[in-house]
Amino acid sequence: MIRSILKCVFAPDGAERRACTMTDIQRPVANPTVVLREEFDDWAVLFDPDSGDAYGLDPVSVFIWRLFDGKHTPSEILEKLRDECEDGIPDEAPDHLGEFVKDLTSKGLVGYAEAA
């Protein structure tokens, strides 16, 4: 069980974090060419074959990444995360999620599918 929302994705060169707001029209979708390798004790590594770059994901980020299927809004993702976390999620979780998605989007790892 995931206990709390942890620090989001890190990049080897230390990506700059930017404040971001997301709307529920935007449904994040993972870049299908990106590889998620998960053999590392709940942690994982994202590999982008186009850039040759790789990034580490903590267990919470892995959980969220799996919901980037173009079908879940940010609110729905947070709801699922809340259901998973024994101790609940902090008030700033929506901002963290927004930063996470913005970070991945800036690297080309995530895009958006608009609601029908």
């Binding site: 080897p12 590392f40 040759g52 790789a54 994901l57």
Partner: protein, 300 residues
């Protein structure tokens, strides 16, 4: 082709034979000296032929390739610059490298060409589950340890400061990691080409001598000597990946995006395997302390 042939046997069982024409034989003798290769009569499982040509851009394919009705019989020039040209074939395990004869004896360019020639071994390693990596290699009681770090961090300093037996410093810049027939990883020391390029060194490296890879230490300068395990396996993968990319990135600038994508995907897979099989540590080292004792404790 002259009688100038040298052999390099690697830990994965591949046997490389280097041969040269008379005009390129002096160049090959020097490469063999640097890599401590032995003369051979073997045919080998992989072969690299060196020749010297006057004008690479205008010259025909090497005589050993032949022309044939279809032009080059399946041989393709991989690189066709003014300094050297490389021919590869999809199915024949040979590479033909033509050196511009004007630079065969050039005091710097000949070493650049030697460096480039070994990329054929790097490519082979990638396809066989291994990779070159930007790291010093040492052995402790016969067990290989890598000390990885970006340039100017202190790999060479650590290499020079290692005490003697049971330690042996094997190389300070680049190591080739390969899988042996048991699926275990072994490490070959590779030359530090900058020693020859900029320091006119006469150093040589026993490239054929592979040691079992027992640990990887990621080096950082610090005020205290310490070795701590990298407990996060994802972090270990990223660190090994970065150290390997430092070798590959210059090559990838010159290839197609598809080739880069395929190679980097393969590299990512291989380093994930390496980081999963070989214990990794962070090594904080000072200039005066006995950092190797921290490594010994980690290896125990």
């Amino acid at each position: 082709m002259s009688d100038c042939r040298y052999c390099l046997e690697l830990a994965d069982g591949s046997v490389w034979v280097f041969a040269a024409t008379e005009e390129a034989s002096g160049w090959l003798h020097e490469l063999a000296r640097i890599m401590e290769l032995t003369p051979t009569g073997k045919k080998g499982t992989r072969r690299i032929y060196f020749s010297a040509e006057g004008d690479l851009k205008a010259s025909n394919p090497p005589m050993t390739i032949g022309s044939g009705r279809n032009g080059k019989n399946g041989w393709r020039p991989y690189r066709n610059g003014g300094v050297y040209r490389v021919w590869r074939h999809e199915t024949i395990p040979e590479v033909h490298m033509e050196l511009n004869e004007a630079f065969v004896a050039h005091p710097e360019i000949k070493y650049v060409n030697m460096w480039s020639a070994l990329r054929e071994i790097h490519r082979h390693a990638l396809g066989a589950g291994g990779t070159p990596i930007h790291a010093a290699l040492a052995s402790h009681h016969g067990r290989g340890v890598l000390i990885a770090a970006p340039g100017e961090t202190g790999k060479s300093t650590c290499y020079r400061r290692l005490p003697g037996v049971p330690w042996q410093a094997l190389c300070d810049d680049q190591t080739l990691v390969l899988k042996d027939h048991n699926g275990s990883f072994r490490a070959h020391p590779f030359p530090t080409w900058s020693d020859h390029l900029w320091r006119e060194s006469k150093n040589s490296w026993a490239v054929e001598r592979a040691v079992p890879l027992s640990a990887i230490f990621f080096l950082e300068q610090a005020s205290t000597d310490r070795a701590t395990p990298v407990n996060d396996p994802a972090e270990a993968v990223l660190s090994v990946f970065e150290a390997a990319k430092q070798v590959w990135s210059p090559c990838w600038e010159r290839v197609s995006s598809d080739e880069k994508k395929n190679a980097s995907s393969l590299l990512f897979h291989n380093v994930s395997e390496i980081a999963g099989a070989v214990p990794c540590f962070r090594l904080s080292a000072t200039l005066e302390g006995e950092f190797w004792k921290e490594m010994e404790e980690a290896l125990a």
